[in-house]
């Protein structure tokens, strides 16, 4: 699945859910600060994308890859992302503002940094997983 195809759908879904024009949405826009979504809007967008692509999406999916990469080391302690966790996030979530991935960042604060690109990436990741499972 190409990023360009997913972007079109993600923008349409955001437009439908939030009521802003899809033409005003950029790939690097943060979902919360720039687009003005809140956590319920994000849930709504994830539900719509789930229905469109027939995959299951959760808010926690954004950091699943980072958590998987951590092997035995903790990704977060009491909700605060560890130094190693931040390192992995910088590697896998290159779309996030690196200046915001600083010590003391919590799991909840990370959600506020998500961008339209993050949404697209998680959809693509889930579609790839689905395709692998179908092939198996």
């Amino acid at each position: 699945m190409q990023l360009e195809e997913v972007i079109v759908i993600v923008k349409e879904v955001i437009e439908k859910s939030i009521g802003i024009s899809k033409d005003s949405i950029a790939l690097d826009d943060t979902l919360f600060d720039k687009i003005g979504m809140d956590s319920i809007d994000l849930v709504d967008v994830l539900f719509e994308l789930e229905a469109h692509y027939d995959v299951e999406l959760k808010i926690s999916d954004f950091e699943t890859r980072a958590r998987e990469e951590m092997s035995n080391e903790p990704y977060e302690i009491n909700g605060v992302i560890t130094s190693k966790g931040l390192e992995v996030l910088r590697k896998y979530m290159t779309e996030l503002d690196p200046n915001k991935l600083v010590e003391g960042l919590t799991v909840h604060q990370l959600i506020k940094l998500l961008t339209v690109h993050s949404l697209c990436k998680i959809v693509i990741h889930k579609l790839e997983e689905k395709s692998k499972n179908t092939a198996n």
């Binding site: 319920i40 849930v43 709504d44 539900f47 719509e48 789930e50 229905a51």
Partner: protein, 252 residues
Amino acid sequence: MNLGLKDKVVLITGATGEIGRQIALDFLIEDSIVVCLYRNAEKFEALKKWIECENCFSKKLYGIRCELSEQKEIIDAVNETVKQHNKIDVLVNCAGNAHEYPFAMMEERHIDDMLNHNLKNTLLITQAVLKPMFKMKSGSIVNISSVAGSKAGRGIVVYSAAKAAIDSFTRTLASEVGKKNIRVNCVRPGAVKTQMSKALEDRAAEKLTDQIVLGRIGKPAEIAKAVLFLASDITASYITGATIDVDGGLMF
């Protein structure tokens, strides 16, 4: 008054109970499509017979067997309802149970049971139903709580705590999903003539009615009327996060 509930898809838990079955009947009278989640097939068959005995057709009454403590079964039941009827307009959380027992003597498993039946199961089914409601950008959820959640009473400590939590759940969920046009409200029955309240009635009928402004115990039909009022987008389109006490004016 037309409540606009014709062909609305109504999912009900606890419909085989005496209040629940009256709620199911009243929705059927309004020509809604009623889907009951039941645990006991015999009780669901009894419900169908009772509905027919009340001179109401049961052809728009459907049942799905579902263990409400199992999240997967709940999700499957919700998906099945959407598959069959395309949507869920209304959820009525009526499942629950109460039996009097001194808190100081309750075992952990009894506390868990009471909290699961009266609180956790409601949270799980509500969470599952939100997905189709978000998709439609509309929905109405009516929780059946109890005046026990706000009044004192012996032997009902955990039940009362669970019902108070349902009241709070109603208010907070309403604020969370309101902008997606989903309304969440609550009906708090007082003493209602059912098997569940029989022990209380048998023990203290006179004392109890003395404490009720209207001087009598309520009927399941009087609870159902409030539920339909809140479920309807015509009568309650601007009501959310509300709790209606249907208790005849209980004073204690």
